[in-house]
């Protein structure tokens, strides 16, 4: 059997064809992040509440969600939810757009993930901050919103960024329910070519995802640096110098020699 050689030019050609569908991937991703964060905040509130059953419910939910592979949940929502709604409210949602089901799935998942991130960040702020704020005459709500949450946000940021990248990667699964996003379109192009060029198309998709992940990582890094500024009482200049020094130290100081050398 003879094989067509790998064709890098097709890889480059296919990227413009794929890019318009990045919108759909991003639309699903961003709406899941927005609604998922809101859901996560509610879950966190339930987890920190003094009402026992509410707390157990939120914790149980998070536990179940973290143990469920996302593809299983996606199938359950896509095939099960229309049946459930039909049974309960006698209302047909079979013809809703597939992206809606994808978003519902990822909101359920993302909410559970970030509720843990938010909870640990909220608990990481010392209790004294809240007490100090209340003692100078803020109401408890004001104290939480103006004092505790801004500090908790910085702590939550790196983990939140990781969750966002993970969500976008898991969002790639949405093509399995027939949503035409980036990979869905890639699969369509492959079928149009009778199964040829699969390697090139998948590589193109991977590059787009890779660039996206790197960009998100960078953005979160910048935000973190920005928010952290007030905390350390350092000017930007000295932070830069410190970083240079730290890098030198890493190269010169912690030099490991393995068995291979």
């Amino acid at each position: 059997m003879n094989y067509r050689p790998f064709d890098p030019s097709f890889l480059l050609q296919s990227i413009p064809a794929l890019l318009p569908y990045l919108q759909i991937t991003l639309f699903v991703g961003i709406s899941s992040i927005v609604f998922g964060s809101i859901f996560g905040i509610l879950l966190t509130k339930a987890k920190l509440s003094s009402i026992g059953p509410l707390r157990w419910l939120a914790q149980g939910y998070t536990y179940v969600m973290r143990c469920t592979p996302s593809i299983v949940l996606l199938f359950i929502v896509f095939y099960g939810l229309p049946k459930l709604v039909d049974g309960l409210f006698n209302y047909q949602i079979d013809d809703w757009d597939r992206s809606v089901f994808a978003i519902i799935t990822f909101v359920l998942l993302f909410g559970a993930y970030v509720s843990e991130v938010f909870r640990s960040a909220y608990l990481a702020v010392p209790r004294g901050q809240y007490e100090a704020a209340v003692s100078i005459g803020l109401t408890p709500l004001q104290a939480v919103i103006q004092v505790v949450i801004p500090q908790a946000m910085i702590i939550a940021l790196p983990n939140f960024g990781n969750s966002v990248i993970n969500l976008l990667k898991e969002g790639a699964l949405a093509y399995t329910i027939g949503l035409i996003d980036l990979i869905g379109k890639g699969n369509l192009i492959i079928s149009q070519n009778f199964g040829a060029y699969a390697i090139e198309i998948y590589l193109a998709c991977m590059f787009i995802y890779w660039v996206m992940a790197l960009l998100i990582e960078k953005v979160f890094f910048i935000i973190e640096k920005r928010l952290d500024k007030g905390q350390t009482l350092k000017t930007v200049q000295t932070v830069k110098q410190d970083k240079k020094r730290a890098r030198l130290f890493l190269i010169k100081g912690v030099k490991f020699h393995g068995p291979g050398s």
Binding site: I71, K169, A198, Y209, G260, S261
Partner: protein, 178 residues
């Protein structure tokens, strides 16, 4: 809407039979990945310019792309590559019929786990102070012995929670191999 409970009960036990495949896949991938990942971690700590750069790009690529795409790519790439190898070696062996998809799944998850584990090992090795290595060398152990008897036992303790996380994620990830 009514759930068919009898059917659920029946299929539950049928699906339970698939557990062995999932676990085999997970354990095989972990065992294959661990030594290579460790070697990569050591490479990066040695700042060997080219190889450590290559490892960094590889790790970033694997972590930045969805695992489903890695599966799709390698599943379409590996059979042809293997076939070419077999053909050039002149062995009469039909790759497309004889190879079990299970084999490809093991390769994909191993490659994925290598990248994740190498980061875990690297962070664990960094957490061990350099004095441990120097002390070991100064009492006359070889570098290899220091790693085996001194550094790895300490680094393993640090790495264990992360290895546990990776294993759980791997078990969940193997659901995509269907």
């Amino acid at each position: 809407m009514d759930l068919d409970l009898d059917f659920m009960y029946e299929t539950f036990f049928k699906i339970l039979g698939g557990i062995s495949t999932t676990l085999e896949l997970t354990i095989l991938s972990l065992l294959l990945a661990a030594p290579i990942a460790f070697y990569m971690a050591v490479l990066r700590l040695n700042d060997a310019k080219i190889s450590s750069g290559a490892v960094r790009v590889y790790v970033s690529f694997v972590r930045g792309t969805p695992i489903i795409l890695q599966i799709l790519l390698l599943y379409s790439l590996l059979p042809s590559v293997l076939n070419t190898i077999v053909q050039t070696l002149g062995i009469n062996f039909n790759v497309f019929d004889a190879m079990d998809p299970f084999f490809y799944a093991v390769v994909v998850f191993s490659l994925n786990t290598i990248a994740l584990l190498s980061e875990v090992f690297r962070s664990a090795l960094i957490s061990i102070s350099k004095g441990q290595l120097e002390a070991g060398l100064s009492i006359g152990l070889t570098r290899f012995q220091v790693y085996i008897h001194v550094i790895i036992p300490q680094a393993m303790v640090v790495a264990l929670p992360n290895i546990c996380n990776i294993t759980v994620n791997l078990i969940k990830g193997t659901s995509l191999a269907f």
